[in-house]
């Protein structure tokens, strides 16, 4: 996040456009849960910018009561019940799988919205310690974050929890503000999906799996959806044949969704030199569309981790979070783009920097916050 901020010219965009009057933007992170107490998310008054925390498996379990014939999530009353069971805002959280801390969601949210002052690495000799400046900023630090935790206590998530999270955002945005229940939260302008489900052409057409259809519905409802391309660009060396192990047509769901902004990963400081990193999934999609749409830094990105720590993670998850943060910045500066996800996508693609790679490796190129905002 530290070096990559200048790689995607967010620092330059901040200087040119200033931090003057900006609209409030809310972004949902569909992931493994966020440590809301991390200093990276504290505003100037020390209040967390993670404004709502929803535990989706917990909500689904409450709806799917085996004693009943079935549960429905198709009306206000059902969603209210879901919300009642799933809303864990301000409750103590245990973001662990077994004994391991699950840093993924906290890290992704930090790339979007971290703003930490007086940063110190807990272990002065750790590799990330050398990299940590005193102030760490994400792509758009004033973004308010909604934590949609889809991974359960065993670290597992699936089509159902992701689809439910996406449907929740649609319901949430069409409700009159739930001020009484939640305070003044939302509407949710965008969703980050740093997750990956293997696409099986024998079960659905590419881009038409149930989770892709839910993603499309969410975009149609006016929400920007940013999805990781997946980490299947290079699986493992297969013999000594040159190129073996690299896989085209390796974009996963929901990245296969046409109207999602699908993001592959590049190097954090030298994207022109390295292009997409090895693991970053390549297009085209199985039905012949160009994907990914963009590249963004995704190699050894330093970001917040559970328990007030900092850690470096690699993957298209981190790349997607960069684009989410820049999209949030764009909407904050140009609020007329709110609820116009296709226009936001077009702007990001038009403003991208060509890395002179094949379209199915780089999409439109490296996301560029400054040029994107200047073109508008």
């Amino acid at each position: 996040m530290i070096r990559s901020r200048s790689t995607v010219k967010v620092d330059a965009a901040d200087r040119v456009f200033g931090s003057g009057e900006q609209a409030e933007v809310t972004w949902a992170v569909v992931d493994s849960g966020i440590d809301r107490t991390h200093p990276a998310f504290a505003d100037e008054d020390g209040v967390s910018r993670v404004v709502l925390e929803i535990d989706v498996p917990q909500g689904l379990a409450a709806i799917a009561n085996p004693a009943d014939n079935y549960g429905e999530l198709n009306d206000d009353k059902a969603w209210q019940n879901f919300l009642k069971a799933a809303n864990v805002t301000n409750q103590p959280r245990d973001l662990r799988i077994g004994t391991d801390r699950d840093d993924h969601g906290t890290h992704v949210a930090g790339i979007i919205a971290a703003h930490a002052r007086n940063v110190r690495a807990p272990h002065p000799n750790s590799p990330e310690a050398a990299d940590l400046p005193r102030t760490v900023r994400g792509m758009h630090p004033s973004t308010r974050i909604v934590d949609l935790k889809v991974f359960d206590e065993f670290g597992e998530a699936d089509d159902r929890t992701v689809m439910t999270a996406l449907a929740f955002v649609r319901w949430f945005n069409y409700r009159p503000r739930l001020v009484e229940e939640l305070g003044d939260v939302g509407p949710i302008d965008g969703v980050n999906l740093s997750i990956s489900l293997a696409f099986d052409p024998r079960q659905s057409a590419c881009g038409w799996s149930p989770v892709c259809q839910q993603t499309t519905k969410l975009v149609e409802s006016g929400v920007v959806v940013v999805a990781a391309a997946g980490n299947y660009g290079f699986q493992k060396a297969r013999g000594k044949i040159l190129g073996a192990g690299f896989d085209l047509v390796s974009i996963t769901d929901p990245g296969n969704t046409e109207r999602a902004i699908t993001v592959g990963a590049t190097d954090s400081s030298e994207p022109h030199r390295y292009g997409p990193i090895g693991i970053s999934s390549r297009g085209p999609t199985a039905d012949g569309r160009h994907k990914p749409d963009l590249l963004a830094p995704g190699y050894a990105i330093v970001g917040p981790a559970v328990g007030g720590r900092w850690t470096a993670l690699t993957g298209t998850s981190q790349a997607a979070a960069h684009v989410s943060g820049i999209a949030a910045k764009l909407i904050a500066r140009f609020p007329e783009f709110r609820s116009r996800p296709d226009r936001v996508k077009r702007a990001l693609l038009d403003g991208a920097t060509d890395l002179e790679r094949l379209p199915d490796y780089q999409g439109a190129g490296l996301v560029d916050a400054l040029r994107t905002m200047q073109l508008l």
């Binding site: 089509d159 439910t164 990781a228």
Partner: protein, 185 residues
């Protein structure tokens, strides 16, 4: 139920709305999480009620036009398949569930023969893998002049499926897919 062995020799894909990978993943003992997509004109509530009939303890949730539930291979055959576009095929199968096997009547086609052989193979794989091994062994010997006597549980389940197909006038299920595991990218 007697099926000519030649019908099992076709390797072509069939148009089953419950695709091969789903049958592969199902077994009689272990239920699998599935996502049922209900057509726009049909009611997911009715589909959920039919799938949950005569059973308890299953977690079923309706979200938009999807039904999240769990099914075994037998339930996929007897409760889901009759609600799909294969409804008409199952009704035609019913007319064939008799000792002597004939072709070309009652709208039965060679495509139906291929469908039936394919379906029997999927059901055997999930419910009676040793019976499928025996069938494959016979086919490997290369003599396809005879017929295969399908284990009686299969036609019994097919009849049950046909009864449900008969009871419903439309096919409300558009597709069925497995509930996949998500990874952190």
């Amino acid at each position: 139920m007697h099926i000519p062995l030649t019908h099992f020799a076709y390797q072509s894909e069939v148009d089953c709305p419950i695709e091969g990978p789903i049958w592969e993943a199902l077994s009689e003992r272990t239920a699998r999480d599935v996502i049922i997509e209900v057509t726009e004109k049909a009611s997911p509530v009715i589909v959920a009620s039919i799938v949950n009939r005569d059973r308890s303890g299953a977690s079923t949730v309706i979200l938009d036009n999807y039904v999240f539930t769990t099914v075994t291979a037998r339930e996929a055959l007897t409760k889901l398949l009759p609600l799909t576009s294969w409804r008409g095929f199952l009704l035609r199968v019913r007319t064939k569930l008799e000792p002597s096997w004939g072709e070309g009547d009652d709208g039965w086609s060679i495509d139906d023969s291929v469908r039936l052989a394919w379906l029997v193979r999927q059901v055997l794989r999930a419910t009676q893998p040793t019976a499928l091994e025996s069938l494959d062994h016979v086919l490997q010997l290369g003599d396809t002049s005879g017929g295969y006597e399908v284990p009686e549980e299969v036609p019994k389940a097919l009849l049950e499926a046909a009864d449900l197909a008969d009871a419903s006038e439309v096919h409300p299920v558009a597709s069925v897919s497995l509930n996949r595991t998500a990874e952190r990218a």
